[in-house]
Symmetry: C2
Subunit: 186 residues, 2 copies
């Protein structure tokens, strides 16, 4: 079940560096792309940084709407994640082609991708020089959600392999999020 | 054994989102801190973005030297990684206290942290507004290296658990880099 995550804790959804799906929508078009280059950059208000390459449909839709969702796909979704990372939304309706199910988000126009285990609703902040010089966007997380089978009491608790988040190395090689290690307090 | 990684492929060291150790040095002082908020932002030349919070010794040393190394620690190092993430270099000589072994890097004044499985030598690029407004730094990777027990023929090949990279959730909870999944080509 999708349950809300407190905004001051939503960095935990991204802190371990999982691959994301970015969903965007504007002027009747919707797109989903895979993105590895996403990270938290502040806690309160929660800010994230993400690279949105120029020339991509995602960049065009985000330039228009200034909103997107970050969705955290699972090991079970690895083939679809790779596909939406390789194929351009300028060529193909990826939501239809790869049989992704979307649903409305609560605060932004971009949709959620179903089957994921975490969702962040993001609004772009204006840093025009970073955007044009580096393709680097800063966004505020306005709402966050997680699947309570994988994120329990504010912590990732990965059980079965199919619900684990994934980490992309390159060219379709991914690693699941592995074993939990609790470090000793210094 | 530490072997060179081609610069055009060095993004693969960071792409899966591992926790890093940032080593910095200036004016006779050396510091090591843990950093999760690091990601590639371009391939050629290879650029990375990293958050260096103001008030930290690392920020002070990087502001002075404009250089640092990113070191990728292993599961075997999890207690030391957590310690250097929790304790400030303004209070403690962390290299001595946590028995870290450093060695000279090849292109920058900051040292390597031994025991890691990946190393990137970084020079900060001047984006003064990002630095002051967001604590966000962009750096070019000038040399990269990996332990050939874990990174083989340009790919991560994690075998034994102790040599896996790690991913920080929060407050000393880490996950190892888990099972390798090769996605089907779309």
């Amino acid at each position: 079940m999708r349950v809300p995550v407190e905004l001051r804790r939503c960095y935990k959804l991204l802190n371990h560096g999982p691959t994301t799906l970015i969903a965007s929508a504007a002027r009747g078009r919707t797109n989903v792309m895979a993105a590895d280059w996403v990270m938290p950059i502040d806690f309160e208000p929660p800010l994230i940084a993400v690279v949105l390459a120029s020339g991509t449909l995602t960049r065009e839709l985000v330039d228009q709407s200034r909103e997107f969702t970050l969705n955290l796909p699972t090991a079970a979704m690895v083939d679809a994640v790779h596909a939406v990372g390789r194929v351009s939304g300028n060529d193909v309706d990826k939501v239809a082609r790869y049989e992704l199910t979307t649903s409305p988000a609560s605060r932004v126009s971009a949709p959620f991708v179903e089957g994921c285990v975490g969702w962040l609703e993001c609004r772009v902040k204006a840093y025009p020089d970073m955007e044009t010089q580096l393709d680097l966007f800063v966004a505020e997380v306005t709402a966050a959600w997680a699947d309570d089978r994988a994120f329990v009491d504010g912590e990732w608790r990965f059980g079965e392999e199919s619900l684990r988040t994934i980490h992309h190395e390159s060219k379709g090689v991914f690693f699941t999020t592995g074993e939990r290690l609790a470090a000793r307090e210094p």
